[in-house]
């Protein structure tokens, strides 16, 4: 389980978990979970286009995820964000369907892009993943304060001169970068589960932003590591364990918060 090839898997999955948890935290905070679903899934159409042109799949993923981010941010200027996201998303996948119908042997590769090939990460793939992961994390750190302010209190941020639109675009671009790096490894579907489950669980446990972000990273790491171990033993897909564990963590966190609140009320009544 910890042999040479598996070591690549562990490293790649750890990097992916950290970046997914950090971007996912902001996605949950900003209420842009639909974009978190649309960008990785839509980017997969880009990979289809790249294979048609004989390019590296990464180029296609990068181009389409950035195009998706620009499309969502652009349409959101004059539309409701959920409508903008939905339309950008279906357009990307519509083009993807066209690319797929043009190429002859795509089904197998498409399958791996949707569900990932986490057990087939080669040594050559690890380095770009680590570098791009570091770039995404640095980008988030650089814009941390304005991003946090505009996510939690958009009106206050605007009054202080932080343009909400520019922040939205910047955030979506970081998500696009993270996506094009992670989709070939863990797949578009798993990337989404990993962004939302841990972050939503952490958010319902605590309202303090830094703590919630740290918690979300911890939960994502626990989810991915346990998932890989169990998946390695059982041969069932990693995506299943990550998806189900993310939801389980969320429900557990909700139950904890509810119990704590009830306890607090009871203590308050007893004290009074």
């Amino acid at each position: 389980m910890f042999s040479g090839l598996m070591l690549n898997t562990w490293i790649a999955a750890t990097v992916v978990a950290v970046i997914a948890a950090v971007t996912g935290f902001f996605a949950v905070l900003r209420g842009s979970t639909f974009a978190a679903h649309a960008i990785p899934n839509g980017a997969f159409a880009g990979a289809a286009g790249a294979s048609l042109l004989g390019l590296n799949a990464f180029v296609g993923l990068a181009v389409f995820s950035v195009a998706g981010a620009l499309g969502i941010a652009g349409l959101s200027r004059r539309s409701r964000p959920d409508v903008a996201t939905a339309l950008t998303f279906v357009m990307m996948l519509g083009v993807g369907a066209l690319f797929v119908s043009w190429s002859t042997e795509y089904a197998q590769e498409a399958y791996s892009l949707l569900f990932g090939e986490v057990f087939g990460v080669s040594a050559g793939e690890v380095l770009p993943i680590v570098v791009l992961g570091a770039v995404s994390i640095v980008a988030i750190i650089v814009m941390f304060r304005p991003l946090m302010l505009s996510s939690a209190m958009p009106e206050v941020a605007e009054a202080r001169g932080v343009s909400p639109r520019r922040m939205e675009l910047a955030f979506l671009l970081v998500m696009a970068l993270a996506t094009s790096m992670t989709v070939p490894v863990v797949g578009a579907l798993l990337m989404f589960s990993l962004m939302i489950g841990p972050a939503a669980a952490a958010r319902s446990l605590t309202a303090r932003p830094m703590l919630a972000m740290a918690l979300s990273v911890v939960i994502a790491l626990v989810t991915v590591w346990t998932g890989i171990a169990v998946s390695y033993q059982s041969n069932w897909p990693l995506g299943f364990f990550v998806g189900v564990m993310g939801t389980a963590f969320f429900l557990f966190a909700r139950a904890c918060t509810a119990a704590r609140r009830r306890l607090a009320t009871r203590t308050a009544i007893a004290a009074a």
Partner: protein, 301 residues
């Protein structure tokens, strides 16, 4: 002249007839249900329910139950789950949808894995996303259409209270409307209609037909009834033209195997929406169009 628009054999082809009939029912249902989806800001739920329902279909296939029930059970189950963990507040709604979709996609990965162990269906992931309008078996058509019409009837019957409780929940509650129950009933109808359209035309096209025509109509039409009619017209037109073009494209380059229906329909719908951008208008009014005021919508058109 007409010969260039309709390739020879278009009107004689059986699959085309089924595709046109079913496509029309789905387009009308999606458009009417979609008007409320857009007003209530539930696009994400509308898309997620389609994805989850398809997962239910592959689950039912695994255990040997009729897939139709798999679709319905998973769609309705997911809607109930979303409602339970907080669909009522806007931001919580988004996250609840995400969490439920995450679990659904996890199950999708498992079902596909188990499915490919028993039969080699590499194309399965594909059908989930794109569906195929030309491979509808005519035996399932009556059941699909009946359920779609049931969902449509629910939404039409609820239209007035639904509109009021979507636009101003406080006023609705003050007038004695059970806002949460109405919302839950709507979500169920949405789940059924989306589940069915995802089966028939794939989750991409089902989202496109749900959101695109409704969003376009809400930008140009005055009042909810006209918006529903306009949305239905746009949806049906896009579906028909898409089917005609897909049929025509059979000999088009580069593959000479036909271009996908979903590509044409999606392009037409998104194009239609973008055309509404050409009308010069200040931004606030645009936003108000998509989420209209109570007075604007409730006053007789």
């Amino acid at each position: 002249m007409l010969r260039y628009i309709f390739e020879p054999g278009f009107f004689a082809s059986g699959p085309v007839h089924v595709a046109l009939a079913v496509g029309t029912v789905v387009a009308v249902t999606s458009a009417v249900v979609g008007v409320f989806t857009v007003i209530r800001g539930q696009s994400f739920a509308g898309h997620a329910l389609g994805d989850i329902a398809t997962t239910g279909g592959s689950g039912a296939f695994l255990v040997g139950v009729n897939q139709f029930w798999g679709y319905l059970a998973f769609g309705a189950g997911a809607a109930a789950f979303m409602e339970m963990i907080g669909v009522q507040r806007r931001r919580g709604r988004d996250v609840a949808t995400g969490v439920v979709l995450g679990a659904g996609l996890g199950l999708a990965a498992l079902f596909l894995y188990l499915g490919t162990q028993y039969s080699s269906t590499t194309g399965a992931s594909f059908t989930i996303l794109f569906g195929s309008m030309f491979v509808i078996t005519s035996s399932t058509v009556p059941a699909l259409i009946t359920s779609a019409l049931l969902a449509l009837a629910t939404v039409v019957l609820l239209a007035r209270v639904l509109l009021l409780s979507s636009l101003s929940p406080d006023i609705a509650a003050a007038r004695g409307v059970p806002v949460r129950a109405v919302g839950a009933a709507y979500l169920m109808a949405l789940a059924v209609s989306v589940a069915l359209s995802a089966v028939i035309i794939g989750s991409v096209l089902s989202t496109a037909l749900l959101i695109g025509p409704a969003a376009t109509a809400l930008r140009v039409a005055k009042g909810p009834v006209r918006a529903m009619a306009a949305a239905a017209a746009i949806g049906v037109a896009a579906t028909w033209i898409g089917i005609v073009l897909a049929y025509d494209s059979f000999y088009w380059p580069p593959a000479r195997r036909g271009w996908p229906v979903s590509f044409f329909v999606v392009t037409l719908i998104v194009g239609c929406y973008l055309v509404t951008y050409l009308r010069p208008r200040r931004e606030r009014q645009d936003a108000a169009r998509e989420a209209p005021d109570t007075e604007q919508v409730c006053s007789p058109a």
